[in-house]
């Protein structure tokens, strides 16, 4: 320490410091340049491979959906079997079948769901749920919900209590898709405030997945958490659940604050006109 202080006092440090810094900046700039070039080239080759894989996958999926070809038949082909072992190929397959599943209904959708299970992609999704990174968990949740894997419900619902808001929203949305109101009734006991963005997503999920059975929504009105009550009121209003109006009337009489009372009156008025 004394030596450093002496060096500082003498002023001898200035020139070595400047020279060191110059070399450091030049080195760092060059390193960043190399990484940028490497990253660009990597992206280009990845994109090329993606296009190549997509063409092949489209043919395979067309066979699965329209010609009743199963995964075991596809896997008999050596080339396909090798490709299915590659993580990137599986990733592209996953993206493709998710897109297809969003566009198909009925038998076609069921065939895709079957393929998802037979090809082991379902295992990849479950594996993602165990990943420590929240964004990977979100991906797994989205995949499992898309293919209506009800066994995943119990695991996914645990993430709805996560601290990370995005994970929380993704899991609640997935739970709504998988089990309707069963996916949100636990929110009645939710201790933290649910912000407007999360509420909007929950309402959006109900609308998007066309949840018909809304049994249990009224439980949200009994919550001690005022943001949960607000969510319940919004759901009743947006989904036009006139059968829940007696619960809204009860809430008006026992509202925890005037704002909730006003919101409840507003819902009642909107739905009775």
């Amino acid at each position: 320490m004394e030596k450093v202080w002496e060096l500082y006092e003498k002023g001898d440090w200035v020139v070595p410091f400047l020279i060191f810094s110059i070399y450091l900046f030049i080195g760092a700039s060059f390193a960043l340049y190399v990484v940028i070039i490497w990253s660009r080239n990597k992206n280009i080759s990845r994109e090329k491979r993606r296009i190549e894989y997509s063409q092949l996958i489209e043919k395979l999926m067309s066979a699965v959906v329209f010609e009743n070809v199963t995964f075991s038949v596809i896997n008999e082909d050596k080339n396909s079997a090798t490709l299915f072992k590659k993580a990137f190929f599986r990733e592209v397959v996953m993206e493709t079948i998710i897109n297809l599943h969003k566009n198909y209904d009925g038998v076609f959708a069921q065939k895709l769901e079957q393929f998802y299970q037979d090809s082991g992609l379902i295992k990849d999704s479950f594996k993602k749920l165990r990943n420590f990174r929240w964004e990977v968990k979100c991906k797994g949740i989205t995949e499992l919900a898309e293919f209506n894997i009800n066994e995943a419900f119990e695991t996914i619902i645990t993430f709805s209590k996560a601290r990370k808001k995005t994970l929380k929203i993704t899991s609640i949305n997935a739970c709504i898709k998988l089990a309707g109101t069963k996916g949100i009734v636990h929110l009645a006991e939710h201790p933290d405030p649910i912000d407007d963005w999360t509420q909007l997503n929950i309402i959006g999920a109900f609308k998007m997945h066309d949840i018909g059975d809304t049994k249990g929504v009224e439980l949200l009105l009994e919550s001690k958490n005022t943001t949960v009550i607000t969510l319940g009121l919004k759901l009743i209003k947006e989904l036009k659940l006139t059968q829940k109006l007696p619960y809204v009337s009860q809430l008006i009489d026992h509202a925890p604050n005037t704002l909730i009372q006003y919101e409840a009156q507003n819902v009642l008025q909107t739905l009775t006109v």
Binding site: V15, L32, D195
Partner: protein, 477 residues
């Protein structure tokens, strides 16, 4: 003689330590901000990949917005610009175009093209403004979102205040009418208003990028290009540094002082309670943010200012030095005026991070930096004249600053590459890389000169914006 020599040596030592200390301080700050920005950017992008903006688009609960677009002599492009504002992806919004006493035919064009009629529009004038000649709405149901206010010329801040008075929605989005907005820009800008956790979001700002020579079709950006001329090209780099490596960090620290006047959203109630835009400064965008924050802090109201890193707004940058100088000198005047209006915030713990960090940062590194550079240059010239300059040390110091400047620009390019990747062509990347090497020698001295002109104008008491001629977006063939 030896006493004089000793004093001279002492002065030289102090000068060197001060200059070097200032350089190290500013560089360290930039690096800290870059680190925080990178962290915040990564986190934002991760979160954003799971966000479904469709939810906001289809919901009645989406925040209701009023877009305020002041227009002055925009006749050449106003029809197209208003059309693009009316076709944004959002439901709950209105567009208020404020014609600020244009001398051209802007108003006639608007009346004719949008079938406008004078309306008896009911509103409460909460901020005093120049005389309003009339408010127009369209007879055509397709343009029911459009409101046009015609007023006497009073400057941008006055026009924005008229918009604030007229706005019927709780949030206002203030934009430059000639900016090109991303189709989803309002969805992204509105989202933070729904995410407050006990804190009121009083403003959100988005990233502004340079659109010179980009391809624009029907008021939308369809192809991103790098400008051919060096001045706007370097500004592309400068904006990348400022927005990707600077403001993102201030957003994370919640110490953002500036939301670009080209594109920002505000909580109307707080903006009005704070007094609206100040007509006494040309930096009305920064001044409003500081005043709103000050209002919240002085009234002990929990609040936050949010920042969106997506490139949502594209603007035309000055192409020649004359216009560039006008723009930058005005920016400097705006900074000086804002800092002087709110000087009591400087190092005042009552204003928390804002007083202890943001305002000192702006004072030391934005307001004083050009002056310090100029004084440094003067002293160096004096040293050369008197044969006192240690050339070895001087060149090392110069190289130290130059290599850092290049490094920091490359870091901005790296950040852009790993995030938004808006310049995928190799040629464009190399053009920007070359610009990073040229900037400290060519562009930076111009920027410092323009800032010094800003000092001079402030001392002389110059007011107003001056004429800002725009070339219009030129398409690259």
């Amino acid at each position: 003689m030896s006493l004089l020599n000793n004093e001279l040596i002492w002065f030289l030592d102090v000068y060197i330590v001060l200059i070097l200390g200032y350089a190290i301080l500013i560089m360290s700050w930039y690096l800290i901000l870059a680190y925080l920005s990178t962290k915040e950017l990564r986190s934002y992008l991760k979160k954003n990949s799971f966000v479904d903006y469709e939810v906001l688009l289809t919901s009645d609960y989406a925040p209701k917005l009023s877009l305020i677009a002041p227009a002055y002599n925009e006749g050449f492009t106003i029809e197209e610009n208003v059309k693009s504002l009316l076709s944004l992806n959002y439901n709950n919004y209105e567009v208020i175009v404020v014609n600020d006493g244009s001398k051209d035919n802007s108003m006639e064009i608007l009346i004719k093209k949008y079938d406008l009629v004078l309306t008896d529009f009911d509103f409460h004038e909460q901020i005093e403004t120049k005389k309003l000649k009339g408010i127009y709405t369209s007879r055509n149901a397709a343009f029911k979102k459009l409101i046009v206010a015609d007023k006497e010329n009073g400057g941008k801040a006055d026009a924005l205040n008229v918009g604030l008075n007229i706005a019927q929605n709780p949030y206002v989005v203030c934009i430059d009418v000639d900016c090109i907005l991303d189709k989803d820009s309002l969805l992204k800008l509105a989202k933070p208003f729904l995410e407050s956790h006990g804190k009121r979001i009083i403003a959100t700002g988005g990233v502004v990028r340079i659109a010179n020579q980009c391809v624009i079709k029907n008021g939308r950006l369809v192809e991103v290009n790098i400008p051919d001329s060096m001045i706007p090209r370097i500004q592309v780099l400068e904006y990348l540094r400022a927005f990707l490596l600077g403001r993102m960090a201030w957003g994370r620290l919640d110490g953002l002082l500036l939301i670009s006047g080209a594109f920002g959203a505000f909580d109307k109630e707080i903006a009005l309670l704070s007094g609206g835009y100040s007509t006494k400064t040309v930096g009305e965008d920064m001044e409003l943010v500081v005043r709103m924050r000050r209002y919240m802090l002085e009234n002990k109201l929990p609040y936050s200012v949010s920042y969106i890193p997506d490139p949502l707004c594209w603007t035309e940058a000055p192409e020649d030095f004359k216009i560039f100088k006008k723009q930058r000198s005005r920016w400097m005047r705006g900074t000086i005026e804002t800092l002087s209006f709110h000087k009591r915030m400087f190092m005042n713990p009552k204003y928390k991070l804002l007083g202890m960090l943001s305002v000192p940062y702006w004072t030391l590194f934005e307001f004083l930096a050009p002056g310090i550079e100029f004084i440094g240059l003067l002293i160096t010239v004096i040293f050369i004249l008197f044969g006192l300059l240690n050339w070895h040390f001087f060149l090392l110091l110069l190289l130290f600053v130059y290599t850092f400047a290049v490094f920091f620009s490359v870091l901005a390019l790296f950040s852009e590459e790993r995030t938004f990747h808006k310049y995928p062509k190799h040629a464009d990347f190399f053009k920007l890389l070359l610009a990073a090497f040229i900037e400290p020698l060519y562009f930076h001295p111009m920027a410092v000169y323009a800032a010094l002109v800003g000092y001079k104008e402030k001392i002389k008491g110059t007011h107003g914006w001056g004429e800002m001629t725009r070339k219009g977006f030129t398409k690259k063939e």
